[in-house]
């Protein structure tokens, strides 16, 4: 029942309306009934007392002069007349008895019930009109009979007020019928009212799924002049607004897609250009360098005997410069190649790769004594070529910057941190100042001078790109003269 009610606002409103009207109508009816009963009851009371008083007045003369027959005659007439009139009356005179001062019956409308000159056998209500109910539906009244200022007897009247009871019951029935009719009427009215109140809600609900379509129209609401009219117009307005902004978003999105396509095309073109450019660089830029280097060498070799040491030193510097530029070009090319290269994912054994790189480093630098420890079996999924470049640069750096360490040590390992496999390359070389750590991975950024350690500063920029291509992260820690540690994570 509770659920049934809570599910529908219409039911709630109907219930409230119906309950309220039934309660108020029945309350009003009951009040009415009680009032009616009291009013009629006191009206009957007064009538009965008047009647009794009147009868006592009428009986006084006959009683004084002991005209008992006349008295009887009169009493009977009163009763009969009353009986004739009393079709539809609310009470009937049952009998009238006249008593003398000693309580003997001296007159009676019904001598069979109350024989003359006997003691009155019923109860006598207190005189001067007090009323007494005797049994069901019976009321007795008494009045003193006065003659010449002297009480000479009393008159007792018995009434049957059953018609009044019937009258009340009739009224009660009428009220019940009235109540039922009213309840039915209010039920119908309540339902209609509830429907009338809740119908706008229905039209609101039916239009809600259309919100944003730009088609939502609720004329049944929006054409009204009242608050529901405001609501309806607000909903229609909101619908149009949503529709328009969605349209706009769609337009922007389409436009964005177009823009992305354009940019992609531009990017592809730029990439092609870059490729052509780097090819040209690799080929054309190196040619003059080769000439500078080659002819300087030829000069030294072929005309060495005609040059003094200063001239040879200068030529040596010319060659050094040309070779350095050659390396720079190579490094730059590698940097751009790392960015462009297509990735071929495969399982890569980093440990084996590191072993090979260290082996090559040892071969190039046979006089260096470096202790290298490589954890075995470190494998990862990635592009073997790019990962080779990465390890080459990091291990190459470790190798280079441990040049002056007394007992050079390089370590390649991995550890689990926050569920990720973090690889690390640690050395005990020259280290660096953590203040400049942010510059480490920028192209051409170096933390050491050429005189201290040779290099172009492109290695770690390349490493960073390899990491980016693999969706990973790289960071470093270092301390001057104590060493450096590079950490990286690959996705």
């Amino acid at each position: 029942m509770r659920k049934w009610l809570l599910q529908s606002f219409f039911r709630q409103v109907s219930l409230i309306l119906v309950a309220f009207s039934v309660l108020s109508i029945s309350g009003y009816a009951y009040q009415n009934y009680v009032d009616l009963k009291h009013q009629w009851r006191s009206a009957i009371n007064i009538q009965i007392l008047h009647l009794t008083g009147f009868a006592a007045l009428m009986a006084a003369n006959d009683l004084r002069y002991e005209k008992y027959f006349d008295l009887w005659e009169k009493l009977r007439k009163v009763q009969n007349q009353a009986a004739e009139e009393e079709k539809g009356a609310l009470f009937l005179i049952k009998d009238i008895v006249v008593l003398d001062n000693s309580g003997n019956v001296v007159g009676s409308s019904d001598p069979v019930r109350h024989p003359l000159l006997r003691r009155y056998d019923g109860q006598i209500p207190q005189s001067s009109g007090e009323m007494q109910i005797a049994g069901s539906g019976r009321v007795k009244t008494a009045a003193p009979i006065i003659f010449g200022g002297e009480r000479i007897g009393s008159l007792v009247m018995a009434f049957d007020i059953a018609p009044f009871g019937r009258f009340l019951r009739q009224h009660l029935r009428d009220f019940a019928v009235y109540l039922i009719l009213m309840t039915l009427a209010t039920l119908l009215f309540g339902l209609a009212l509830a429907r009338w109140i809740t119908r706008p809600l229905g039209s609101v609900r039916s239009v809600l799924p259309m919100l944003g379509s730009g088609q939502a129209a609720i004329p049944s609401l929006s054409l009204r002049q009242d608050e529901y009219g405001l609501l309806g117009r607000a909903i229609e307005f909101a619908d149009r607004r949503i529709h328009e902004s969605e349209e706009q978003i769609r337009m922007h999105r389409d436009h964005l897609e177009e823009l992305v396509k354009q940019r992609t095309r531009a990017l592809e073109a730029a990439n092609k250009e870059l490729e052509a450019f780097s090819y040209a660089v690799s080929h054309d830029l190196r040619a003059p360098l080769r000439a500078i280097d080659g002819f300087s060498l030829a000069l030294v070799e072929d005309y060495g005997d005609k040059l003094d040491d200063a001239a040879k030193g200068y030529l040596q510097r010319v060659r050094g410069g040309a070779q350095k530029m050659g390396r720079l070009i190579d490094d730059m090319l590698q940097l751009s190649r790392v960015t462009r290269a297509e990735l071929h994912y495969a399982a890569v054994d980093l440990s084996a790769m590191a072993e090979q790189i260290v082996h090559d480093l040892r071969a190039q630098d046979p006089h260096r004594e470096v202790q290298v420890s490589i954890a075995p079996g470190l494998t990862v999924s990635g592009d073997a070529g790019l990962l080779g470049i990465l390890l080459q640069n990091i291990l190459g750096n470790a190798w280079k910057f441990t040049r002056d360490a007394r007992e050079a040590h390089i370590e390649f390992d991995s550890r689990l941190q926050d569920g990720e496999q973090v690889f690390l390359v640690r050395d005990n070389g020259a280290g660096f100042d953590m203040r400049y750590v942010s510059k480490l991975f920028g192209a051409f950024q170096r933390l050491h001078t050429e005189d201290e350690f040779p290099g172009t500063g492109i290695g770690l920029a390349t490493v960073q790109r390899v990491i980016n291509r693999h969706g990973g992260r790289i960071w470093a820690e270092g301390k001057v003269e104590e060493g450096a540690c590079f950490y990286f994570v690959l996705k």
Binding site: Y279, H283, R286, A287, R290, A298, D330, L333
Partner: protein, 145 residues
């Protein structure tokens, strides 16, 4: 001597001079014929154009081929050489200016026998020659050991 020719295909005069010098310095006594672009190389090999009338039965023992050449590039020269029965078997050593991986891969695909990075690292070149069985490279007697 006429049969012991090395054909050098190189457009850059500096590189030509340096390569010839390096070969001479290593006492290679072969005749070195030089051509300046791909078209000239093809004319030379097939006895056409300015080389019309050259005896094409006399082919070089080895071709040192630059890849980036004017007119007809090195890869096309290589392709044409491998497609012609007269030049199919001539060893070709590709000269590259960088280790541009793609060039090296495609030249091997087209039938290059070896490659050497410029400027000619002569020890590498001699290694390559040995591997290719170019024992015929005529080394002059080194005057004093």
């Amino acid at each position: 001597m006429a049969g012991k020719v090395i054909l050098l295909v190189e457009d850059n005069p500096d590189d030509r001079i340096l390569t010839v010098r390096a070969l001479k310095q290593h006492n290679i006594a072969n005749v070195i014929d030089e051509v300046k672009d791909g078209q000239e190389a093809l004319d030379y090999l097939f006895g056409e154009g300015q080389y019309a009338g050259r005896d094409v039965a006399m082919q070089p023992q080895v071709v040192l081929l630059d890849l980036k050449l004017p007119k007809v590039d090195g890869l096309e020269v290589l392709q044409r050489m491998r497609a012609d029965s007269r030049t199919k078997r001539i060893p070709v050593v590709v000269l590259t200016s960088s280790s541009e991986q793609q060039d090296i891969v495609s030249s091997f695909d087209l039938g290059a026998n070896s490659y050497v990075r410029k400027p000619v690292d002569f020890n590498a070149f001699l290694d390559a020659a040995k591997q290719l069985g170019l024992y015929w490279l005529m080394l002059n007697e080194v005057p004093n050991g």
